[in-house]
């Protein structure tokens, strides 16, 4: 640990020089220019820059300050690793961050080749001296270890077109000028050396799809990856992923559109970046509206025009989702989306729902009566003093939409809601479970129809109640807006002037998780979480409490998490983890 810390001083200097002189990712395709065209997966990074950001990151500092971190560092395997690193440092007369910086100043790439089925690690060092020295040091360790175990020399040496090539176990390595490579396939290593020696033009860098992908790369990317989807589809890799079929309705609703794009897109790329404020991951691929078959138009809208509404954020929101999904289309076209078995189940559900909705066709009349912009909110619940408090406190949820014919549908939905509550009461009465009591609240044009579980008459006022007391099913209306919620408080908040966060144009789906309500929810249920850890993970009470407190502590380092599915020229799935500000 001391060694690691003492290494950060020179590291800062090295990195400050590096970051001033080179872009975050070295050369536009310089490393790709040495890889064969048959490369199907490519990951490029600047380890020195990534490492520097990580080591100096406030979240890492917070983690380092935790007592559990120090305990984890005492792990024998980590101690062994640190000893090995120290040995290399002594032999190289350089700290490990300095070594990483000089070994990868020109970038580092991990790639998979389709032609040879091999992987390769390709890097460019700061000069032509450091790589051979490090190679010799590592090989001498391998030889020493073999001698200690009375095994033969594990290093085999040869030459390829004048370049020394060596093999240790299954790994082939070669160092040439500032470059070095390690691979598990000789043919792949030779192909790279041929490109280097012959200055061949037919490389990954010259491939159209790679050039298109790299042009879409954001300027401040720390790690960038590319996948040749055309090749993967032809090779039958992950056939399920490229089949365009989802296994079940839930997966279809979540990812059906993405699967549709993967059927046709020539490539996909990913980029990751880290700053003090956030960590971002963006997965992207090209998209054309012509690729989307009619049954999947429910996902993006005609001509990719579907746009999600803003993200609602009433008080206490821990999760907010806003999405464009034409559920009516989805339901009606289920026959083309799913296999026979799923369709049989959906047909049964359709029949039952049609009965429940008084003979209205569920797909056309009920789902079709609601606009395709849906919002879902999950929020922490607070229980009023006169309300029974459940032992396990679940968050409330609310699903919101806009009615196309509000006058007609409000009445219809209210009646169906009342029938459902009646049905639930009959079932609950047969099972000796608590009963729901119907109520209505009107406030101007805001109208709530709600049902609350009746507290058991002889239960002491301070006694905790079962889990179902988290729910007070509520249907709310205001103008054309409709909300189905598990709590009247949340339903009301959704219908009143609810704060919201706008989503950028082209957003198909947006998701936002806020740290503080989530942390509070976990804290509300701390006792139950501890009990669960004791019973199901064999923890002692003290250990379980420590674990929960650690999770709560780690959550303090996070501010919010966002996810967006955006369409336009490209389809992009963006994840962003925002970090909390520095602690005092």
């Amino acid at each position: 640990m001391c060694r690691l810390r003492s290494s950060c001083g020179p590291l800062a200097f090295v990195f400050s020089v590096l970051t001033l002189t080179v872009p975050v990712l070295a050369g536009e395709g310089e490393l790709a220019g040495l890889l064969p065209e048959s490369t199907v997966l490519y990951v490029e990074l600047q380890p020195a820059v990534v490492l520097e950001r990580l080591l100096a990151h406030p979240v890492v500092k917070r983690i380092e300050a935790l007592p559990q971190y120090k305990v984890a560092l005492a792990n024998p395997q980590l101690t062994q690793l640190r000893a090995a690193v120290t040995l290399v440092e002594l032999r190289m007369q350089s700290t490990w961050p300095e070594l990483v910086a000089s070994m990868t100043s020109g970038g580092l790439v991990l790639a998979v080749d389709g032609k040879t089925d091999g992987w390769i690690l390709l890097g460019k060092a700061a000069n032509s001296e450091v790589a051979p020295r490090l190679r010799d040091t590592l090989l001498s360790f391998a030889r020493q270890q073999a001698r200690e175990h009375r095994q033969p020399d594990p290093v085999r040496s040869g030459e390829y077109r004048g370049i020394l090539a060596q093999q240790v176990h299954n790994v082939r390595i070669a160092v040439f000028d500032q470059w070095y490579l390690a691979t598990n396939k000789s043919d792949l290593g030779k192909a790279v050396l041929d490109i280097y020696l012959d200055k061949s033009a037919a490389t990954l860098a010259s491939k159209d799809s790679f050039q298109q992908a790299i042009q879409k790369r954001s300027p401040h990317t720390d790690v960038w990856a590319y996948a040749d989807l055309d090749y993967l589809r032809r090779a039958g890799v992950a056939a399920d992923l490229f089949s365009g079929k989802a296994d079940n309705p839930a997966a279809e609703l979540l990812l059906g559109g993405v699967l549709e794009v993967l059927r046709k897109a020539p490539y996909a790329a990913a980029e990751w970046s880290l700053s003090e404020q956030r960590a971002c991951l963006r997965l992207y691929a090209p998209i054309e509206s012509g690729w989307i078959r009619q049954p999947r138009e429910y996902f993006f809208g005609a001509g990719l025009s579907g746009q999600a509404a803003d993200l609602p954020r009433p008080e206490g929101t821990l999760l907010s989702i806003s999405t464009y999904r034409n559920l009516s289309e989805f339901w009606l076209r289920a026959g083309e989306l799913f296999d026979k078995e799923t369709n049989d189940q959906l047909a049964q559900a359709d029949s039952m729902l049609t009965t429940l909705f008084s003979g209205h066709d569920f797909g056309r009349d009920i789902l079709g009566a609601i606009e395709p912009q849906w919002q879902l909110v999950v929020a922490r619940q607070q229980f009023a003093a006169d309300q029974p408090v459940p032992a396990i406190r679940l968050p409330a949820f609310a699903l919101a939409g806009q009615l196309r014919e509000p006058e007609k549908m409000r009445r219809e939905l209210r009646r169906i809601f009342q029938s459902l509550v009646g049905f639930l009461n009959i079932v609950s009465a047969m099972q000796g479970q608590p009963q729901l009591e119907l109520d209505e609240q009107r406030d101007g044009d805001l109208h709530l129809v709600l049902a609350r579980f009746i507290p058991e008459a002889d239960r002491p006022a301070d006694a905790q109640v079962p889990i179902q007391y988290n729910f007070a099913p509520t249907l709310g209306f205001r103008g054309s807006r409709v909300v189905l919620a598990s709590s009247p408080v949340l339903a009301r908040r959704m219908l009143e002037d609810c704060p919201s966060e706008p989503v950028p144009p082209g957003t198909n789906t947006g998701l936002l998780i806020d740290r503080e309500p989530l942390r509070q929810l976990l804290a509300d249920n701390r006792t139950q979480l501890v009990s669960q850890a004791v019973l199901e993970r064999g923890r002692s009470r003290e250990e379980a409490e420590e674990e929960i407190d650690l999770v709560l502590k780690l959550l303090e380092a996070v501010d919010r998490f966002q996810m967006r599915l955006v369409t336009g020229e490209m389809i992009a799935l963006e994840f962003e983890l925002g970090f909390a500000g520095q602690q005092d």
């Binding site: 058991e456 905790q464 139950q528 009990s531 199901e536 064999g538 002692s540």
Partner: protein, 454 residues
């Protein structure tokens, strides 16, 4: 496991155990006591026990320890979680946790006894809270007053729901509870007549369960005169229970069941052997503590013919090894696995409870027992005194395979290992000398025929 009890002098049998050269008080006999009167003992408990007299140890096992209140409070949080989910299987996990960790193991063992005696299944009751309340009722009276226990069980909502007596109207008296009270809970078959059943059922009319609580409905109570065991009167339900409990067969019936639970599965002992205990139980007005003190501290209990004469139930099989090695694990999984072996807590198979004895063992359950041990030992949640088995063995100076095998045998086995088996286990431990090898030794030991008895 077959003995001729007839040859045993009852006075000798139930007189206090006094160690001698033939039957010395040592770690093996102390382990026997802890296994039968609880769920085994760890090495430290055995060390302490052999420095006390057997009667002192029995006394300590029978009296609530000072730290039981703190344990109960802590356990209260766990059960609140189980009840909040409404899942009886989680409640079973909670109880198994109590068996593993309670400082008063005899209380849990007796609670298990009463659960099998007054068998009530959540399969029909389908309410975790009611099952918990019944379980607490058994725990509260585990070593106390049998008379009071029977009175309270007669009003217990889970019991009355299970025996279809949640509504008992005078026009149609339900005979289920009346019959089982006499046949299974207090007197035994042949000690009552069909007329007694009908008359007793009339006494219970108007006893109802409403909103999970017992309620007396005077409008549905048959206030007429009844004839019970030849006595006439307008007996209430409580008076009728008293009449049942005053029958001379009650002490012998309960003593016989306790004998089978604590002393030996089979053969059934003659009345003559149980007579001294039955008399004491009667004289002490059906108080259980003194009866248990005498039974567990007796010459017969510590005799060679009793040690190793009972088949371990699935719960004994699973909990004893873990408790003896101060192990913690996923008790939810453990209780489910015991269920697969035929003893799912809160789900006895019928109103007679579990058959026990040899019925626990067949080719399928033997394989299931091996699977249980394998699963527990490979579960990352399983730790021994907070770490590995190797760590515990080292702390006790048992890191050599020979020492490990002897130490585990002393903690876990009621009957000695043959030298051949012992050496086979030592070889397994020696093969690698690491955590995996040590766990393999434990696995093999728990799957031996010797571990199936206690």
């Amino acid at each position: 496991m077959s003995h001729d009890w007839n040859s045993i002098d009852p006075q000798w049998a139930w007189s206090p155990y006094e160690p001698d050269a033939r039957c010395p008080w040592n770690r093996a006999r102390a382990a026997h006591l802890f296994r039968r009167a609880g769920f085994g003992a760890d090495s430290q408990q055995l060390d302490q026990a052999v420095h006390q007299s057997p009667q002192q140890v029995v006394d300590q096992l029978i009296e609530p320890p000072a730290d039981i209140t703190a344990f109960d409070q802590s356990s209260g949080d766990l059960v609140a979680f189980a009840l909040a989910t409404g899942d009886v299987h989680r409640l079973a996990a909670w109880w198994m946790h109590r068996m593993l960790r309670s400082p008063f193991p005899l209380q849990e063992k007796m609670t298990l006894f009463w659960h099998g005696h007054f068998a009530t299944s959540a399969e029909k009751v389908a309410d975790a809270e009611l099952m918990y309340r019944q379980n607490q009722l058994f725990r509260n009276h585990a070593l106390g007053d049998f008379r009071r226990l029977v009175h309270e069980v007669s009003r217990d909502p889970a019991m009355l729901i299970y025996l279809d007596s949640a509504t008992n109207r005078k026009a149609h008296p339900n005979e289920n509870y009346a019959r089982e009270l006499m046949e299974l809970f207090t007197l035994g078959e042949g000690n009552y007549s069909e007329q007694d059943v009908q008359q007793l059922a009339r006494c219970f009319t108007g006893w109802e369960i409403r909103r999970k609580q017992f309620r007396f409905n005077p409008y549905q109570n048959d206030e007429g005169e009844k004839t019970l065991f030849g006595q006439r009167g307008k007996f209430t339900g409580d008076e009728a229970v008293e009449l049942v409990l005053s029958r001379p067969q009650v002490p012998g019936f309960i003593v016989r069941k306790l004998f089978r639970f604590f002393v030996a599965d089979e053969p059934a002992p003659p009345d003559q052997l149980l007579q001294p205990l039955a008399e004491q139980f009667r004289e002490e007005d059906l108080q259980l503590r003194g009866l248990l003190r005498r039974m567990l501290g007796s010459r017969l209990f510590f005799s060679d013919r009793v040690v190793g004469s009972k088949v371990r139930s699935p719960v004994d099989f699973a909990v004893t090894a873990l408790r003896s090695l101060r192990a913690t694990t996923n008790v939810q999984m453990l209780s489910e696995m015991c269920g697969k072996l035929g003893q799912m807590l809160f789900y006895p198979p019928n109103v007679k409870g579990w058959d026990g004895g040899r019925a626990w063992i067949n080719s399928a359950t033997l394989l299931g027992r091996a699977n249980l041990v394998r699963q527990v030992l490979s579960d990352p949640a399983t730790r021994f005194d907070g770490g590995g088995l190797l760590d515990v063995a080292r702390r006790h100076g048992k890191e050599r395979p020979e020492a490990l095998v002897d130490w585990l045998a002393e903690l876990l086995l009621a009957v000695p290992l043959s030298e051949t088996t012992r050496m086979e286990l030592v070889d397994v431990g020696r093969a690698a000398g690491n955590e995996t090898a040590f766990r393999e030794v434990l696995y093999l030991m728990m799957t031996l025929p010797e571990y199936q008895v206690m």
